[in-house]
Symmetry: C2
Subunit: 239 residues, 2 copies
Amino acid sequence: MDGAVTGAAKLKLYDLAGADPARRFSPYCWRVRMALAHKGLDVETIPWIYTEKQAIAPSGQGAVPVLVNGDKWVFDSWTIAEYLEDTYPDRPSLFGGGAGRALSRFFAGWADGVLNPGLLRFVLLDVWKQLDPRDQEYFRQTREKRVGTTLEAFTAEREKYLQGFRDSLLPLRLALKTQPFLGGDKPLQADYIVFGGFQWARTVSNFEVLPADDRVAAWRSRLLDLFGGLARKNPSISG
Amino acid sequence: MDGAVTGAAKLKLYDLAGADPARRFSPYCWRVRMALAHKGLDVETIPWIYTEKQAIAPSGQGAVPVLVNGDKWVFDSWTIAEYLEDTYPDRPSLFGGGAGRALSRFFAGWADGVLNPGLLRFVLLDVWKQLDPRDQEYFRQTREKRVGTTLEAFTAEREKYLQGFRDSLLPLRLALKTQPFLGGDKPLQADYIVFGGFQWARTVSNFEVLPADDRVAAWRSRLLDLFGGLARKNPSISG
């Protein structure tokens, strides 16, 4: 259970899990976990593996995160964040208003288009290692088709890509030069959108993608500390 | 003169100009030109060339944009945008509130760290060609030192970099998938921050950096149309 309970109806979240059901590693599920905690909403997270499509069939599609609120099923991390913002408007805002909501789209675009593809090069095989055996063949087949080679070959020379990846974080590094969070003095959904990628990587892999003295590492650490260390407490290979 | 006058004190903006004093090409000055028009503020733009450091000495530094409001001198495009937002709070907001202001930093980080360096590869020599003869030697010396080669060599094989540049715009393309502006239904300073780079490129160069069917090109066109075509009316090599 995450966050503080204050009489809200109990929400359920289907949350991608590994062979260890406590290991939750999806960058998109983490966007929602952090959003729920930001709103102070209690949630029951249900460990889910890729091949359990049937369990989330009522959502009308086959990927998590899926949020269930009574008889309402909501999927897609962006849609869920908007749903939470609109359903619980009196709780701390995830976007800081209409302008903030629109501007947050670019953070999703950057995370989906730059950050997460960059991280994939480092952690794809490590993800596979953490999967439930029932998921491993499915994951290998779909991902090897997507990247055009074996998981092993895709990640074999990952050190070669490290400097380029770190360089690609420059926009983040510049934005954090004058403020502790992308949202300013306090974190917003934009922070959680980006943080999801880093949390994904550290949960399945001990390959450190950030230099210790990087401003981005300090920001990641602040995110790990939020909500009583919600993200830090998640079982993680990086320790 | 830009924008509508409604009894505001006349502002002055030192604005980078070429051999044709009407050709204004600085991406940072364009951030301010658009911000002033967004606020509906009248401004007298003063054409300025790199070697006229003395003219802006009262600002305490040597680069434009520099805004003058009575005896107040303000420099740096971000600082000027904040100054306008705080000085004219009753006019249309550039940030849409505190969250939007903080989130806009990332757009500046992306423009400064990814977009404008990417465009530089295409237009650096073209910038030089448009400069006032008094600026050309200064510009060549300082820029060749910065890029480590001649202006001609730096841009000679620019076609080779075009696909990589277009790929680097993916975050922008994704953000604009569901809304006409980065700010949502209406443009905000985040749009102007990014647009400045594209306006810089088209003002000095006929090298087209966007495919015609790119969603980003449609967005650029919307920006060019704003405020009675303010940016479109600026003399431009791209026509």
